[in-house]
């Protein structure tokens, strides 16, 4: 990661996303639908706007998303 990338990453972590985003509760409410759209190869960000922005600004919701996506994927391939 370049210094400029690290600078952008730091600012993103400190200042969060610029665009509109859902709340933590809304993110949790929509997370299963978002993940299934992703796994189906559909444009989840267009269907459920504000989710990606929120997950960029909220590390906990970001982790919840990664966990659900990976676990569902694992279950379907086992």
């Amino acid at each position: 990661m370049s210094a400029d990338d690290r600078g952008q990453e730091l600012l993103r972590r400190l200042l969060g996303p610029a665009g509109p985003e859902v709340t933590c509760d809304e993110c949790f409410e929509l997370l299963d639908e978002y993940v299934e759209l992703e796994l189906a190869g559909e444009d989840a960000d267009r269907r459920l706007p504000g989710m990606r922005e929120h997950m960029q600004g909220c590390p906990a919701c970001h982790e919840d998303h990664e966990s659900l996506r990976d676990f569902v994927q694992l279950e379907r391939h086992s």
Binding site: A3, D4, R6, G7, Q8, L10, L11, R12, R13, L14, L15, G16, P17, A18, G19, E21, T23, C24, D25, F28, E29, L30, L31, D32, E33, V35, E36, R52, E53, Q56, G57, C58, P59, A60, E63, D64, S67, L68, D70, F71, V72, L74, E75
Partner: protein, 232 residues
């Protein structure tokens, strides 16, 4: 707490629900109505569905704790197992309380898994921070030192961080400053801070969001260009 030693007569259950024969996999056939009907069904049927759902939730909780094994290195295997069981139990309670809110926008199991993963994740984060002091005051602005950067770039970044530090001290309320310092500057997990401050993740994130908006506005007013809205 739930007894996980229930031996579910799945073949009876599957016949009852779907008309299938002795095909034991019939229950997890992704017919979302089956799950909801069974969980609201008569005691015998409901007990079977509860046991099956709990087993799925336990698997999800173990998966999540496995991902976080580095955070739980000081726990024994038995303690991690207990944590997974607690997460599955709590997730099941949450699911039953929110069954009416299942809209069928996803498979029932995907909807249910997120509760177990959330519970396990929260428990792991809290366990990892158990006993650790959280500094709620002061600022520890991260430094970005890179000898490869140009002098001009280092000056610009230094000025930006100075402006941000000033804005944190001048435009945020004391509560916003506390939350911003803990979450954004010091990387305290939001669930851990929520527990310490006796509030919720959602309430804390709203505070963080408002603080970030104020800081962006202050930096823009001071002539700094902020462009970090891109994707990951």
């Amino acid at each position: 707490m739930l007894e996980t030693s229930i031996s579910p007569p799945t073949h009876v259950y599957a016949r009852t629900l779907t008309g299938a024969s002795d095909k034991t996999a019939a229950f997890v056939s992704d017919d979302e109505r089956d799950w909801v009907l069974a969980l609201r069904g008569p005691p015998g049927l409901r007990d079977v569905a509860l046991a099956e759902l709990h087993a799925l939730l336990l698997r999800a909780a173990r998966f999540e704790l496995g991902r976080r094994s580095d955070q739980l290195a000081d726990l024994s295997a038995g303690e991690v197992g207990d944590l997974a069981m607690q997460a599955a139990d709590d997730a099941l309670v949450a699911i039953l309380g929110k069954l009416d809110s299942f809209r069928g926008a996803s498979r029932f199991t995907t909807w249910a898994y997120k509760f177990a993963l959330l519970e396990a994740g929260v428990k792991a984060r809290r366990r990892a921070w158990h006993g650790r002091e959280i500094a709620l005051d002061g600022q520890s602005m991260p430094a970005l030192v890179d000898s490869g950067r140009s002098a001009q770039e280092r000056i610009e970044q230094s000025e930006l961080l100075d402006a941000l530090r000033h804005a944190i001290g001048s435009v945020l309320t004391p509560h916003q400053r506390t939350v911003f310092n803990a979450l954004a500057l010091n990387g305290v997990p939001i669930d851990v801070l929520a527990e310490r401050l006796n509030t919720t993740r959602g309430a804390l994130y709203k505070t963080l969001h408002d603080a970030r908006r104020k800081l962006r506005a202050a930096l823009a007013a001071a002539g700094h260009s902020i462009d970090v809205g891109g994707g990951t």
